[in-house]
Subunit: 201 residues, 2 copies
């Protein structure tokens, strides 16, 4: 049984990670979402155990102490974390896990699981990035400014990733990421058994 | 101007390199064939300057002396070579060049141009490989035997490549290679300018 792919999709605030990941999951039923835990309040329509595990700060700290997180980070005053045990189980079973995560979190994951596929989403332009952050409508003017400056700094970190995909449209970006996954499945390093003639043929 | 991709498609005799490459070229008009020179006689229907530059042994040796070859090799008593100057010109112009080449030749090219994308075609099975080599109908029993033994040895060399693609059908294999090319275009290492905000945005 081949180990599954760990697919890490990241990018600065407002680059559209969430929408692109939803499209990939809809297109590729074999790929499953990793669900994060967070201390932030649910947005309208968000359901506990679906978009996130919504937990209290005390609970979050207990999970940290129990070593349940692959990584965790504080972002704008809230905690976000990725439960390691669930991901590891699934990868071993050969499942492909999609991890949608902020830039800081992705770099932490990369240190622990360098065999993952690290994909950085870029906005088509800074103007478009500003429009998207404003359009979300959940930000004060102060936090909007901070988010935009932060996004510009985060984009520089994209150099640490394996792949960069410009999110000019959800369909294009998802198609490019799906091509990346198809290509990664062809990597010789993941397919050495194919060259063992006794076993492969 | 981004440098073009050098795409090297190789594989043991009878794995169907030629058919798969023709499909890729038909699908992707931006990708151009690299034309090899050879001293072997044209097969029925082959045209000089299209499938190959068909040249004499003396001419071939003169090209070697002039340093015109990226690589050359003797295969089953005939010489094959890849004109370096033409490929280099095209890559600089940003063109993507597809190089269909035997296993020995591909490893030579990899030493000189490690930035290329090295793709190894695998037969779906040894039985299928035998059927394909026989089906070609251009082989004596002696040379068939030699080709098959050689193919098995060559498949081991596939471990030196970046990607392995099983040629179970021309459409599948071509689609996988096209995904590899799309993925390679997203590689951060090829897209560092995207992270230079002053220039990119």
């Amino acid at each position: 049984m081949n180990r599954g792919l760990l697919i890490v999709v990241s990018g600065a605030s407002g680059t559209g990670k969430g929408t692109v990941c939803k499209k990939i999951l809809a297109d590729l039923p074999a790929v499953a979402y990793s669900i994060s835990a967070t201390t932030r309040a649910p947005r309208p329509g968000e359901v506990d155990g679906k978009e996130y595990y919504f937990i209290s700060r005390d609970e979050f700290k207990a999970w940290i102490d129990d070593g349940k997180f692959l990584e965790f980070a504080e972002v704008y005053g809230n905690y976000y974390g990725t439960p390691l045990n669930k991901i590891e189980e699934r990868l071993k079973r050969g499942e492909d896990i999609l991890l949608e995560i902020d830039v800081q979190g992705a770099l932490n994951v990369k240190r622990k699981m360098p065999e993952g596929i690290y994909i950085f989403l870029l906005p088509p332009s800074l103007e478009e990035l500003r429009r998207r952050i404003e359009g979300r409508g959940t930000e004060t003017q102060e936090s909007l400014k901070r988010r935009l400056a932060n996004a510009v700094a985060e984009i520089q970190i994209g150099r640490e990733y394996d792949y960069a995909v410009v999110n000019d449209s959800v369909d294009n970006a998802a198609a490019q990421i799906e091509a990346i996954l198809a290509a990664e499945r062809c990597k010789v390093a993941r397919n050495l058994d194919k060259f063992n003639l006794e076993e492969a043929f």
